[in-house]
């Protein structure tokens, strides 16, 4: 079930993922990959602020198996990105995981306040 605590945990996971993406961006020399990393950090930061607004209103998400799966997926991607901080050379893997996280959080943010 998605509770306020789940949303706060998701925020913490997003925050950690953003750190990995920014570190990868800092080291990345390829302009296309740099642009992708920068876009993902901005998208995730914007989603984090959307979650903060919902938390301010104590708006959680109606529980359902689909919601549970979305949170579990997002948690998996944030965990992967946290691990990837130790190997920033795998930029394409970081971008691919970042894209999945952005998509997953987009789905969750869409459910907030419904």
């Amino acid at each position: 079930m998605a509770t306020i605590d789940d949303l706060e945990d998701l925020q913490d996971g997003i925050s950690t993922s953003i750190q990995t993406l920014l570190r990868a961006y800092d080291q990345c020399a390829d302009p296309v990959e740099s642009a992708a990393l920068l876009l993902q950090t901005k998208q995730l930061a914007a989603q984090m602020s959307q979650i903060e607004t919902s938390l301010f209103h104590q708006q959680a998400v109606q529980a359902s198996p689909m919601v549970d799966r979305a949170f579990a997926s997002a948690e998996g991607y944030t965990s992967q990105l946290k691990d990837m901080a130790g190997n920033l050379d795998r930029v394409s893997d970081i971008i691919a995981t970042g894209a999945k996280l952005v998509d997953g959080v987009t789905q969750i943010v869409g459910w907030l306040g419904l």
Binding site: Q11, S15, I18, L38, K42, S49, L55, F56, H57, T106
Partner: protein, 290 residues
């Protein structure tokens, strides 16, 4: 909004110091809420681009109704502290029975107007401040500030604690929490400015400056100056939030010491409170200039 110099002399009576501190904290909180919304605007635009619709509700991280609710709640706390100040000043002691009831009714009236916000922190603080008004009405005949403060202390702590929590701090002394308003602002600033901080102006220097033409250098220097200003404004905002959380915590501690009535702890708590007022005033003046 203007902040006075706020000189709290060492011999200012405790209740007057508390009143001054909470009025300063009130102004600081309103200024910070406004600045947080301003700084978060780029992020809201980014989020808006990804959405299917965009309205005025999407423009701010903190809705105007929530900010207005905190304004009323803090006005309630100001009125409560003013009542304690009046009682301990001796000037209005004889009339305190009337004044106390008047303050209590004013506080309850203020928080009844808080209708537009569904925020949890607002709801908790509103209940706590309404209880403060109730205490003033209940104890209107006692004329004992300490008795009133003792009865009111749990509500005072709850109201102030809700505000500290809202700013994204936890524990005593308040420390930044990994999520919440402060954490969201920090992530927002870092990501929205990564291109500048990590590339163009990494290490506080203009990258590739030697290869630029004079015209490009002129543009780059102007951008660099603007970036330094933006970074300084953000630093001031974070400092203000941290200082306010500390100041609110000191006010809560000072209220408890006042309620308990032991001379030593009162002196210590209010010395810390008075020092914190100065810090908050200075940082808020800086924030206002930014």
């Amino acid at each position: 909004m203007a902040w006075s110099a706020g000189c709290a002399a060492v011999d200012t009576p405790p209740a007057a110091s508390l009143q001054q501190a909470m009025e300063t904290n009130h102004k600081a909180a309103m200024g910070i809420f406004k600045r947080v919304n301003e700084e978060m605007l780029p992020s809201r635009i980014e989020q808006g681009i990804a959405g299917a619709a965009f309205s005025s509700d999407d423009l701010s991280l903190l809705a105007p109704a929530d900010v207005a609710a905190w304004d009323d709640i803090l006005s309630g706390l100001d009125a409560y502290c003013a009542a304690l100040g009046d009682l301990t000043s001796g000037k209005n002691s004889a009339a305190f029975t009337t004044a106390s009831e008047s303050f209590g009714i004013k506080i309850q009236s203020l928080v009844r107007t808080v209708k537009g916000s569904s925020a949890s922190g607002v709801a908790k603080a509103r209940t706590a401040v309404a209880e403060l008004g109730g205490v003033l009405i209940k104890y209107k005949a006692s004329r004992e500030a300490q008795t009133i403060a003792k009865a009111a202390d749990p509500s005072f702590q709850a109201a102030v604690g809700s505000l500290i929590d809202t700013f994204g701090f936890a524990g005593r002394p308040p420390m930044p929490a990994p999520h919440g308003l402060l954490a969201t602002c920090e992530v927002n600033f870092r990501t929205m400015n990564a291109e500048k901080s990590d590339r163009r102006f990494k290490g506080d220097a203009i990258a590739g400056f030697d290869a630029m033409t004079p015209a490009e250098r002129r543009v780059a220097i102007k951008d660099f100056i603007a970036w330094l200003g933006v970074a300084e404004d953000h630093k001031a905002l974070v400092q203000s939030m941290t200082a306010l959380a500390a100041a609110l915590d000191k006010a809560a501690a000072a209220h408890t010491a006042f309620a308990q009535g032991s001379a030593g702890p009162i002196d210590e708590a209010f010395a810390e409170l008075r020092a914190e007022i100065q810090t908050t005033v200075q940082i808020c003046q800086k924030l206002q200039k930014g």
